[in-house]
Symmetry: C2
Subunit: 197 residues, 2 copies
Amino acid sequence: MAITAQIVKELREKTGAGMMDCKKALGETDGDFEAAVKLLREKGVAKAAKREGRATAEGVIATYVHPGDKLGVLVEVNCETDFVARTEKFQEFARDIAMHIAAINPLFVTRDEVDQDSLEKEREIYRQQALNDGKPEKIIDKIVDGRLEKYYSEIVLLEQPFVKDNDQTVEGLLKEASATLGENVVIKRFSRFRLGE
Amino acid sequence: MAITAQIVKELREKTGAGMMDCKKALGETDGDFEAAVKLLREKGVAKAAKREGRATAEGVIATYVHPGDKLGVLVEVNCETDFVARTEKFQEFARDIAMHIAAINPLFVTRDEVDQDSLEKEREIYRQQALNDGKPEKIIDKIVDGRLEKYYSEIVLLEQPFVKDNDQTVEGLLKEASATLGENVVIKRFSRFRLGE
């Protein structure tokens, strides 16, 4: 593997070791990044605690704490430029999302994140419900699919009706914000703590 | 298994189903709580989205967002009574912890949470470092243990020097707060988002 200036730079950022050490480590490990990190650690020239990777995306970290301090949300919303990240419109969007998460309690940002095990369990329950209701076997798959769509709209943030305007989904709100701001906007991740949960 | 009033109550809270439905489900599943939840779901009398469990611990959810909105922390700090949770002293402690986490970037609250795989990897690196430094084999375990202690103090919140007063650890600060407030105080969990990470 070729040892490019880019990979040396990344190794320096990751380990805090000097350029010559990094080049040498990459040479010895035939350009294997992770092996080079390990080697530098073993040689004692890299720091024990990993340095934080350089932030690349723009945007904001927003929080919402419900009055009484028993429920709080942390959310990362990305955009393309710091210019947009500083606009009131973008920051208001991020705060709205944090408040929505506090109120509605989604479990995932997108449906891609829902784990297959949970899905299979839900499917099985819906199938059993439909059978108990005496539905004919040939339409059961369709019923299960329909209920699964409903399930997504309950647990997936982007598919939930927005708490301040039930006529649009969070995804609709996001697209609107994106169009107004002229940049791609992404809700990247969130954390929601309720006291004692 | 005996079907107590307590378990019926819990099943009602968990599923939102009526008392008679819950009793019946528990009867049919021989008192198995999870099986009863599943049965109620299948019968369609329980809600699809899980209800939130009742909060038992007292305390607060605190946040800290670093100026510029690129770094934020969410933390849950527990105490025994809501009376103490509302005191300025307790709330200041929670805010201090959130700020410390933002500044120092711990990975775990206690050393019990550190996963064994990471530990083994660290051990192996320290061993290799010591061998490379030409240390005699018989003292290597001791050196590895020593470096591991240092590693803990870098990544475990309670063992880190407190950011506003390096002379004491976060655990020391916590014990002090606990003594002043007259209640057991626990840092339960935290989440730390840095933009683009």
